[in-house]
Subunit: 233 residues, 2 copies
């Protein structure tokens, strides 16, 4: 029934090797930092470096695979956390989203840097990354859509510059973004940049000598955004 059982032994071994390589690479990333060495990964796998090229055409391809996995892992963690909050508690769901995003970032710092830090040199985000990268955004949109539909959120009548409003109206016609009025979406985008900006600031050391209680600070940011989005008073 499982996917592996339908595969030939060779193909099975192949996906297992690929998983091992990624596993080791993730470990290196976490321990050694962002300078991932394919040769070092090969050594840890007990194999000569050229063998790894049977599974990944280049170091960039391996990195891309890690990035896709990281996006997926982060999205899984966020969705999992959000799911455990009662559906009616919109603010609670927003908090869960934000908290779990930050927690994931704290526990996977170098992977977070890969996703939200400076873009990697050779690498141009392939199609495979945009879907998992968007999942948390779509989740946020779902919360806001529900809030609007349920009249819990009173859509702000903020004056938006024409081109900005146009962008948000166009976005609202994309699958998963529907039902969120421009005013709400504008505030959501702002909140998003603010929260991930805060996470990046924390992780990249921009708050050193300033903030000491990071947990409390982020919690405060969450409250501010929730209030601004109309999810709480």
């Amino acid at each position: 029934m499982s996917l592996e059982s339908t595969l030939t032994p060779r193909a099975r071994a192949r996906v297992e090797t690929i998983e091992q390589i990624k596993q080791i690479a993730r470990h290196h990333l976490a321990v050694e930092g962002p300078n991932l060495s394919l040769r070092a990964v090969a050594r840890d796998l007990g194999v000569v470096s050229s063998a790894v090229y049977r599974y990944f055409a280049s170091r960039d391809e391996l990195l891309t695979a890690l990035i896709v996995d990281a996006y997926t892992s982060m999205a899984d963690a966020i969705e999992q956390a959000e799911k455990q909050v009662p559906r009616r508690d919109l603010a609670g769901r927003w908090f869960a989203l934000g908290r779990s995003a930050r927690q994931w970032a704290l526990h996977n710092q170098h992977e977070y840097a890969l996703l939200y830090g400076s873009p990697v040199p050779g690498y141009a985000a392939p199609q495979d990354t945009i879907e998992p990268a968007n999942r948390p955004v779509l989740l946020a949109m779902a919360i806001l859509r529900e809030g609007v539909e349920r009249r819990a959120i009173d859509p702000p009548r903020d004056r938006l510059p024409k081109p900005v409003r146009a962008d948000f109206e166009r976005i609202a016609s994309i699958d998963g973004f529907t039902g969120v009025p421009p005013g709400v979406m504008a505030r959501a985008f702002t909140a998003w940049a603010q929260l991930f900006g805060t996470i990046s600031f924390e992780l990249f050391g921009r708050f050193t000598n300033a903030i000491t209680d990071y947990d409390a600070y982020f919690e405060h940011q969450l409250k501010v955004t929730a209030r601004h989005l109309g999810l709480s008073r």
Copy 2:
């Protein structure tokens, strides 16, 4: 009178060579991307690689020098722009600060990534970087302090979590941060993360397929922050 004239010819040549190396390195950074190669810099300088080590003990040291320069260059640009706005126009000064920060980032993308992207592997921010890195923050604080002193800003009585308030009160005792009430500083920190989060999102491609008019979008963000800070209606 000038600094160079007081130096021996050798020392003069030395500072000139250092400047040339940094110049070439900056160019490589802009053209080739973040993978700066010391050997390539040496080649462009028409010199063998080991010669460069007479001026920079390591690649990291060269990178650090570039980072310090970049912070300084950005701070210069921001201060220059802010200075040209009439002192009484607090909102205008805030806009000038934000706009020039973004413009500098757009014109020096890889250097911006060095400053605000994922931290460089081996490198731990040395003392030399924190002063120029703080200059834009201090400028923002100066604007807000003036606003409060002049009663143009009505300090919000936001309820802040105890540890957060404590942090901001402690910060307010640091030179350059005085005279900014916790409520204002909290909002300033939020605005700061939001603005630099927005700039990073734009530069790192996180807005692709969403925002099309980046200028208008950032201008909108500036308005939102200015309003939230009490600098404008």
